[in-house]
């Protein structure tokens, strides 16, 4: 029986067949008009966009000095004398307004306010308040734009870090540097577009995870390249004993041929990435030694950054290396300095942390400015959330700790088209809530992309059926921060 049906289906006249086919073709043509992606081979976009900014960028490169662990804004840049007056008194419910607590303080019966142990003074044209722990930063306040009203939803380190780096509290998304690498590529083809440098402070440290500079669903070419903290910043850079550059080049060429054959057969985009990474590594063999040789820096540069800057693995040496990388065209350099999580022992730990970073950070700004690079390099300093105005644990006479506080924190930006010498946003006298001009993490990202000449709503990547972007579904450029 089925056979008859089949045979019947086969008895199609020419006229019938041509008629049906034209209908079919026509529908497909119509479909391709209506759905532009209909006839694409199925790959989700090219791994690298055409690398052009949407409009004229102010900043060409970014150096992000990420203070891991959340530095206390109340001991650094947000002066709240009311807390000193009210030390020991309970945090009023009208101020707290039901803010959720972390697991670490949820068991606390009392939330005594505590003022900063360190004194503050005003500096510069904007009259920005800076604590005594950051004397060098205080000197360059006229280059800096403080944002006192950053806020986030995350209350613990992992989600907050992920949020700050990738625009969402859940992982698996590309980090900021990867988006920038995807959108703009590397200025210098001999170095990666996104570099990561780590250092550890003496305070209470929290972990730093490599997912924070991962490429998420973007092509793995855009991954952050972590430099090592030892003297050899990039390991195995030299050709192995018994082989010279010629030999390496020949080897790479043959390898590329083999990989091409493999790619034809399987079409795995990771093969292409691998080939590109080999090429990049080959070029880095020439480019990196120039950079990591710190011994030829002039004396006054070393003095400016401090003696630490020649010891690999310190924050100061990372700042110096960051300047060198940025000068050589690396698009996004990210530093992580751990140790700011002062749940306890604020008085002991915070000065040590500040000592590690203050001099070198100010030196970095001055170094860039002297070379005429500050205008096109955006420098950002900040953590993942703020700290509470009440004490965690025992409020002792000479020591205290602070818990995590997502409702407001301070970061600062300099160079790269940011308005210098201003203080943006206002928090209330308790240092707990935002009064004016809140800047959400998504807004922060949108503004950074804007400075780089990218429209944050147009830098997208299609993944799992929808278009993702760094600012996800939110984010507004804060125009008041732009020069």
């Amino acid at each position: 029986m089925e056979n008859e049906f089949l045979k019947n289906r086969f008895h199609v006249t020419r006229r019938h067949f041509l008629g049906k086919m034209s209908l079919g073709l026509g529908s497909v043509a119509l479909g391709s008009l209506l759905i532009p992606d209909l006839l694409k081979s199925g790959e989700d976009g090219v791994p690298q966009l055409t690398g052009l900014p949407h409009f004229a960028p102010k900043a060409k490169r970014v150096i992000y000095l990420f203070q891991n662990g959340a530095p206390s804004q109340l001991e650094s840049f947000d002066y709240k004398p009311l807390l000193n007056k009210m030390t020991g008194e309970e945090l009023p419910a009208s101020i707290r307004m039901g803010q959720r607590l972390t697991g670490m303080t949820s068991g606390q019966a009392k939330f005594p306010l505590v003022g900063s142990h360190f004194s503050f003074k005003q500096y510069g044209q904007s009259g920005a308040w800076v604590s005594e722990l950051f004397p060098h930063t205080a000197k360059i306040v006229d280059e800096i734009c403080f944002i006192k009203t950053m806020h986030t939803e995350a209350i613990n380190h992992d989600p907050a870090l992920t949020f700050m780096q990738s625009g969402a509290q859940q992982g698996n998304r590309p980090s900021m540097g990867s988006w920038v690498s995807y959108g703009l590529g590397s200025e210098n083809k001999n170095l990666p577009a996104f570099c990561v440098l780590l250092s550890r402070g003496r305070g209470n440290g929290q972990g730093v995870y490599s997912k924070l500079w991962s490429n998420g669903f973007l092509d793995s070419v855009h991954q952050g390249v972590q430099f090592s903290s030892s003297e050899e910043r990039v390991l195995y850079l030299q050709d192995p004993a018994g082989r010279d550059r010629e030999g390496t080049r020949k080897m790479l060429d043959h390898l590329a041929q083999l990989n091409a054959i493999n790619y034809k057969e399987f079409g795995d985009p990771e093969i292409e990435t691998k080939v590109q990474q080999y090429e990049m590594a080959y070029r880095m063999q020439t480019a990196v030694p120039e950079l990591s040789d710190l011994t030829h820096e002039p004396d006054n540069i070393i003095k400016m950054y401090g003696a630490d800057c020649l010891s690999p693995g310190t924050y100061a040496s990372n700042c110096l290396l960051a300047r060198k990388l940025s000068e050589s065209g690396v698009r996004f350099v990210q530093l992580y300095h751990q140790g700011w999580d002062q749940h306890d022992n604020m008085v002991g730990d915070m000065p040590l942390q500040a000592q590690d970073v203050d001099r070198a950070t100010a030196a970095l700004i001055m170094d860039l400015k002297q070379r005429g690079l500050l205008e096109e390099t955006l420098v950002i300093w900040g953590g993942e959330f703020g700290r509470t105005n009440y004490c965690q644990g025992n409020l002792r006479k000479n020591n205290y700790g602070r818990d995590h506080h997502p409702r407001n924190y301070t970061i600062w930006m300099a160079g790269g088209g940011v308005r210098p010498g201003i203080v943006y946003g206002q928090t209330d006298d308790f240092g707990y809530n935002i009064v004016k001009d809140p800047v959400h993490v998504n807004d922060f990202h949108a503004t950074i992309l804007h400075l780089l000449g990218l429209n944050h709503e147009q830098l997208t990547f299609k993944h799992l059926g929808r278009r993702y972007r760094l600012t996800d579904v939110a984010g507004k450029v804060v125009h008041d921060l732009l020069a």
Binding site: T50, G51, L52, P53, H54, F55, A56, P57, E187, N188, K189, N190, E231, R283, T286, A287, E290, L294, T295, P298, N300, I302, K303, M304, G306, A307, D308, L310, S311, P312, E327, S328, G329, A363, M366, K369, Q370, R371, G372, L373, E375, G453, K476, V477, H479, D480
Partner: protein, 717 residues
């Protein structure tokens, strides 16, 4: 058919006469309401004669394709209908023109041409009907079509305003907050978008023309549109706030409405006096107009207006030329998408050649940013650069420019920013450049220009920011500690190597546990050997810096290896290490990580191990390497006993040592407990017993608890 023909003919004739009559008496006409309605059907009806006329034109052209006489019949009926609808359209248009206030001139032209079209159509009809000369007929038809186009265009001008069709091609001049008055910048764009289409010179509803400043001030049929300083009494504002369904609500229902921001902008403008000239910075700081315009600018920037781009007056370079210029050592790219301006960056100085720069001549006109930082560019090359007339930003940091070639750069009229940091330019070389009209900043850090010279230049050229050395801190800093290169146990023949990252540093060492100082201590010149485990102290010194902190490290040297090792007491099950072999395998443990195979941990019982050398071995010293982590209760061993003998089962106690326990919290570390043996200690078997601290001392947080003893290696010398 004939009757209908005759009726229609006559109707058309009547309408024509009526039209002529109306032309003469239009001033005296007062239209009743229902005729006004009829008049508003004009935009509907006028489409009919247009369509028919064009259709008939096609029929006339394709006459031969029709069978027999049918073309004539079609033309006849077509002309009838065309003429009738044209006349009716003209009539309705007439009624409409009496209602609204249209600009006199534009309306006149449209009216006349419309009426003429209707006449011509009637004439065509008659001609065709009476079978007149066909050639003339067609000529006349063409003339009708032309008149139709005129009528249509003028009618469109009445409705949409001038330049409606081509408007998207021409972008209006860019207004900024600085170069335009607040009215031009903030208020006029709103009115342009939402009001001008009905309130302009050619079509002024309510008699109000808003597109001309003077006429706007005059007002309309009902008087002035606003009262200066009093938005609440202004007619225009009142119209905004009327309910949407109200007749007088502006903009009318169905047209794009004003947003709240736009309404408050206009209100604020009226409140501050409805001035057409004042610029934003002329308003007082507290003026609400300023805030609103600022918000308006921000919301506009976000929502509608494009980013204001700098306009360049040169053509973009071809895509292929730019692509060809890109090599791994030279990046050439537009500043942003579709920008004609180009940037060129150079990398890896070993690959730079003079021709790398010359090849850029193919984009000489488009180059706006040039980055030659660290390249071996000489003064001669500056001549090539001077041909890139549109360069605005030039980076010559750390090049070999010495200054003589800077005069070439004086030809760069558009130069805004020049970086010469790290070059050997001198002060007088800069004079030529500082005169450039557009130059706003120059960077001369680390060049031959002294601070005084820089100040003098800054005074002479106040418009240019001259940035030299920004850092001047004569504070003396402390050096970092030197570093021990050796890892783990020092093998026989291995030399101790110390290093410091800063060049020109002297390292002072001491091998006898005294602190080295910068004057009298031994100087480290080259790697040296040591024979036994030593505590090495080192410190770095350099002129102009304070000496570094002391580096204190215990160097463990490989000793004599016993043939066999046996563990007589088991380690704590949590920290078994590698058992007996781990004690002499020369693998050192780390101070911070104790749960690791190198370490054996003991708490509840003493450590006890036996060592067999197979022959009599004369030993001078035994060194026990132990871990110290006060916070983790890991202490040096309280008491150590050395048993020795030639008979495994019969050993004598040869040495007993009680160690000095720490008196406070000290940093973690791996330390050596050296036990000197008496002169003639020479046996085959040795046994070491080490007791962990039984009770943590008073000063410890957890005093009284049992301590730990961790051992990773035992050395015999």
């Amino acid at each position: 058919m004939n009757t209908i023909n005759r009726v229609v003919f006559n109707v058309i004739f009547c309408i024509q006469i009526l039209l002529v009559f109306l032309v003469f008496v239009e001033e005296r006409i007062q239209l009743p309401a229902w005729l006004q309605v009829v008049g508003r059907l004009h935009p509907l009806v006028l489409h009919l004669p247009i369509g028919f006329l064009i259709f008939l034109a096609i029929v006339a052209i394709l006459q031969r394709q029709f069978i027999g006489d049918s073309a004539r019949h079609i033309l006849h009926i077509g002309l009838l209908v065309t003429s009738l609808s044209a006349s009716v359209a003209a009539l309705f248009g007439f009624f409409l023109s009496l209602q609204d206030d249209y600009g006199r001139d534009a309306l006149m032209l449209h009216k006349m041409s419309g009426v003429v079209v209707s006449w011509f159509c009637y004439a065509l009809l008659l001609w065709h009907h009476n079978q007149g000369k066909m050639k003339l007929f067609y000529g006349f038809g063409a003339l009708t079509l032309v008149t139709l186009i005129v009528a249509g265009h003028t009618g469109a001008v009445l409705t949409h305003g001038q330049n409606f069709v081509l408007a998207p091609m021409f972008s209006p001049p860019v207004l900024t907050v600085d170069n335009a008055s607040v009215y031009e910048f903030a208020v006029q764009p709103i009115l342009d978008r939402k009001c001008f289409s009905c309130h302009n010179e050619t079509r002024a509803k309510g008699g109000l023309v808003m597109s001309s400043v003077d006429k706007f001030k005059e007002g309309g049929k009902h008087g002035k549109a606003w009262v200066e300083g009093k938005p609440e009494e202004s007619r225009m504002i009142k119209a905004f706030y009327l309910p949407l369904s109200h007749d007088e609500h502006m903009p009318p229902d169905g047209k794009p409405q004003l947003t709240p921001v736009e309404v408050s902008t206009i209100e604020a403008w009226i409140k501050s006096g409805a001035d057409f000239e004042k610029k934003l910075n002329q308003f007082a700081d507290g003026d609400s107009l300023k805030f609103i315009v600022a918000a308006f600018v921000a919301s506009r920037a976000d929502a509608e207006a494009p980013i204001v781009e700098k306009q360049y007056n040169f053509n973009p370079a071809s895509f292929d030329v730019v692509a060809e210029l890109n090599t791994p050592f030279r990046s050439v790219f537009p500043l942003y998408q579709n920008s004609p301006a180009i940037q060129a960056d150079f990398f890896l100085k070993d690959n730079f050649q003079a021709k790398s720069l010359e090849e850029l001549k193919s984009v000489a006109n488009q180059l706006v940013v040039l980055n030659l930082s660290k390249m071996p560019v000489t003064d001669k090359d500056l001549e090539v650069i001077s041909s890139f007339r549109n360069v605005e930003i030039l980076n010559l940091n750390f090049t070999r420019v010495q200054g003589s070639g800077l005069s070439h750069l004086a030809r760069l009229e558009n130069l805004q920013s020049l970086s010469l940091a790290g070059t050997s330019v001198k002060s007088n070389d800069l004079e030529a450049i500082l005169k450039l009209p557009k130059l706003r900043e120059i960077f001369i850090w680390n060049s031959q220009v002294t601070d005084e010279q820089r100040d003098a230049l800054a005074k002479k050229y106040p418009e240019v920011e001259i940035i030299g050395n920004l850092f001047s801190d004569s504070k003396v800093l402390t050096l970092g500690k030197p570093r021990l290169e050796n890892d783990g146990v020092i093998r026989k023949g291995e030399l101790i190597t110390l290093k410091h990252s800063m060049p020109g540093v002297t390292i002072r060492i001491s091998k006898d546990s005294s602190d080295p100082d910068s004057v009298s201590s031994e100087v480290y010149k080259e790697p040296f050997a040591i024979n036994e485990s030593t505590v090495l102290k080192a410190r770095a010194c350099k002129d102009g810096w304070y000496c570094s902190d002391i580096l204190e490290v215990t160097c463990f040297v490989e000793g004599i290896a016993p043939a066999q090792v046996e563990l007589l007491s088991p380690a704590d099950p949590q920290y078994p290490g590698k058992g007996a072999p781990g004690l002499t395998d020369l693998q050192k443990g780390f101070a911070d990580i104790f749960k690791e195979p190198s370490w054996l941990g003991y708490r509840s019982q003493p450590f006890s191990a036996a060592f067999d050398f197979e022959t009599r071995m004369s030993l001078k010293e035994i060194v026990i390497s132990y871990g110290k982590n006060i916070g983790g209760f890991i202490f040096p061993p309280d008491e150590v006993e050395i048993w020795a003998g030639d008979d495994k089962k019969n050993l004598k106690l040869v040495k007993k040592v009680k160690s000095k326990l720490p008196t406070g919290y000290t940093p973690n570390g791996v330390e050596a407990l050296p036990i000197a043996l008496d002169a003639n200690t020479s046996y085959q078997y040795y046994r070491i017993v080490a007791k962990p601290v039984a009770k943590l001392p008073e000063w410890h947080d957890k005093k009284g608890e049992k301590g730990w003893f961790f051992v990773d290696e035992i050395f015999f010398y």
